[in-house]
């Protein structure tokens, strides 16, 4: 019975998230028989229509380190497919000339559906977000003129940009092509998805118990990790610290009440995206669940939902088992998403 309620709540979450900020259109992708849930309608901005050629160009750019100042850092350097497009165990990423960032590279799983990007949600769309890593001093460190000149000198790129955009490479068109590729990073074939589709054997007993907890008021994960991607896209303070070195959303708003607020991350493929939190300070999923079970650290801005949960060790194990059931290996091995 409780499982039934959980599914109802999940369904409500699905409905609640169906409010794309831009005109929705179905992504032009070949049907993937492995994606049991089928492609959802991906929001496509009217000024960047999706075409196969643009997606392919975006894929080449995504994996090309020539887009960086020292020619050694690609988007894929920090968003690696085998780790669900996160940075494979690194708390923070390494950019050009060995420069270190300050935040954990998030997964790009189903990033097409995110309505806010970056850890505190300061970017409203993929086309604008992509400019950040391309130009940031400690990431790829490129100037618009230098990027345009470098790509224009590569005949294949010069030709491809002309075909796709009708203009030469520029920071803008690079960002638009990468955004188009990122909208194809779709993952809906985890054991959880298969269970949802009717496969009663898809989840282990532990994962089933964990799912009950996840969607219950006791475990209380689902209020923030809601909907098909297990995120409400809202910035929240999860009580990670009492004093934050990185103040999160407050950097943008300047408001005290926003100190320590970071966006709720998706949990799809979360078992592949360690370490966790905005700074990669939690090494394992168990550490994360233990943090929430303790009720976090004292903080005036902590979300009201953060409180001691009273879960047993066995229940923590069950929650971890459920989180592991959100792993979609067909996503990390999909040839269409791997280096060309």
């Amino acid at each position: 019975m409780r499982r039934g309620w959980a599914l109802v709540l999940l369904g409500l979450g699905l409905l609640a998230l169906e409010r794309p900020a831009v005109t929705p259109a179905v992504l032009h992708l070949p049907p993937d028989p492995r994606t049991l849930a089928g492609p959802r309608a991906v929001p496509i901005p009217p000024d960047n229509p999706q075409t196969p050629a643009k997606v392919e160009l975006g894929r080449r750019l995504f994996y090309d380190p020539r887009l960086s100042k020292d020619g050694r850092v690609a988007c894929a350097s920090c968003h690696r497919p085998e780790f669900a497009f996160s940075d494979g165990g690194n708390p923070v990423s390494t950019g050009v000339f060995g420069r270190k960032g300050s935040r954990n590279a998030p997964t790009l799983t189903n990033v097409a559906f995110r309505q806010r990007l970056f850890w505190e949600g300061r970017s409203p769309r993929l086309e604008l977000q992509a400019v950040g890593p391309l130009t940031a001093h400690h990431e790829m460190g490129m100037e618009p003129e230098e990027l345009a000149a470098r790509l224009s000198a590569i005949p294949e790129y010069a030709r491809a940009f002309q075909e796709v955009f009708g203009e030469p490479p520029s920071l803008r068109t690079v960002a638009f092509a990468i955004a188009a590729f990122e909208r194809t990073l779709l993952s809906f074939n985890s054991p959880f998805d298969r269970y949802q589709a009717g496969d009663d054997q898809a989840l282990s007993e532990a994962a089933l118990r964990g799912m009950e907890l996840f969607f219950s008021e006791r475990g209380d994960c689902f209020h923030c990790h809601v909907g098909p991607d297990f995120t409400d896209d809202e910035p929240r303070n999860n009580g990670l610290y009492t004093v934050y070195k990185d103040i999160g959303l407050a950097q943008a708003t300047g408001r005290d009440e926003d100190v320590g607020k970071f966006k709720t991350p998706t949990l799809r493929n979360v078992a592949l995206t360690a370490p966790y939190m905005h700074d990669g300070s939690k090494k394992t999923l168990r550490e994360v669940v233990e943090h929430y079970n303790r009720g976090g650290e004292p903080n005036l801005n902590a979300d009201p939902l953060i409180r001691p949960l009273g879960l047993s060790e066995a229940e923590i194990d069950d929650l971890v088992a459920f989180l592991e059931s959100l792993t979609d290996t067909s996503f990390t091995t999909n040839p269409a998403l791997l280096p060309p």
């Binding site: 086309e127 618009p144 803008r172 960002a175 950097q251």
Partner: protein
């Protein structure tokens, strides 16, 4: 009859407008700025400047009675190594001939433009400007980059001033003491602005200064909490970095 009145008004208005060109000269202290030259902060740290870009907007000439002649538009000033640094044209506009007590402008992007979708904005705004700030709201307003020569070696530094809180109001007018006087004759005029690039590095209250030995202070970004006090010092220094030239 009415068209003749209209035509007369247009001709009169045209006759009253004089062409004005605003130019910029870069300086460090009382010297003309030169690419590749090593300068020194008041604290004795040696540096070189490698890049300067900034937005100038909301320009207005100030009449002796305090009224303003506002100039529409926004320009992006760009200075890179080997480019001219003295008397560089920034913008051209028309203004009624006469006497003025100075001018004012902002370094930055007006708020109503600063928060639109940069992917849809035209030059000098937009993604290709190199001033779009993907992780902070809006654009970088003032972008100064260079190299510090430290005992441990040379280190890059950047100052990226932006967000609405750091839009810089530059006020180069004086109605009371009448120290500033701009004459725009009917044939037109050239107005020269000086920008002292070294001014950014002056110490602030309590002797706070941009000590490039501290790695965190080599990356000044808008609202970054780690560096906001130093950005505030730079901001207040920059209020006095512009002057009217000859």
């Amino acid at each position: 009859m009415r068209p003749l009145v209209w035509l007369g008004a247009v001709l009169l208005a045209g006759g009253l407008a004089a062409p004005v060109e605003l130019r910029l000269s870069l300086r460090v202290g009382d010297q003309a700025f030169a690419w590749g030259r090593t300068y020194q902060t008041p604290q004795g740290q040696r540096y070189r400047i490698d890049l300067l870009k900034f937005y100038l907007s909301d320009l207005a000439l100030v009449r002796p009675d305090g009224r303003e002649v506002r100039v529409e538009g926004l320009v992006l000033a760009e200075f890179k190594p080997s480019a001219p640094t003295q008397g560089v044209p920034l913008m051209r506009f028309e203004a009624p001939p006469g006497e003025y007590r100075g001018l004012r402008f902002d370094v930055g992007v007006p708020r109503e433009l600063n928060h639109q979708d940069a992917a849809t904005q035209a030059w000098p705004l937009g993604i290709n400007s190199g001033m779009y700030w993907a992780w902070n709201p809006g654009y970088i307003f003032y972008r100064l980059e260079g190299t510090a020569f430290l005992p441990e070696g040379s280190r890059k530094w950047v100052i990226h001033m932006g967000t609405d809180a750091f839009r810089l109001p530059v006020r180069l007018h004086d109605l009371q003491m009448r120290r500033v006087r701009l004459e725009i004759p009917p044939r037109g005029a050239v107005l020269v602005l000086n920008l002292d690039l070294g001014r950014a590095f002056w110490p602030g209250p309590g002797g706070v200064f941009l000590d490039w030995r501290e790695p965190a202070l080599r990356q000044l970004h808008g609202l970054s909490p780690q560096t906001r006090p130093w950005m505030s010092v730079v901001y207040h220094n920059m209020l006095d970095a512009f002057s009217l030239g000859e």
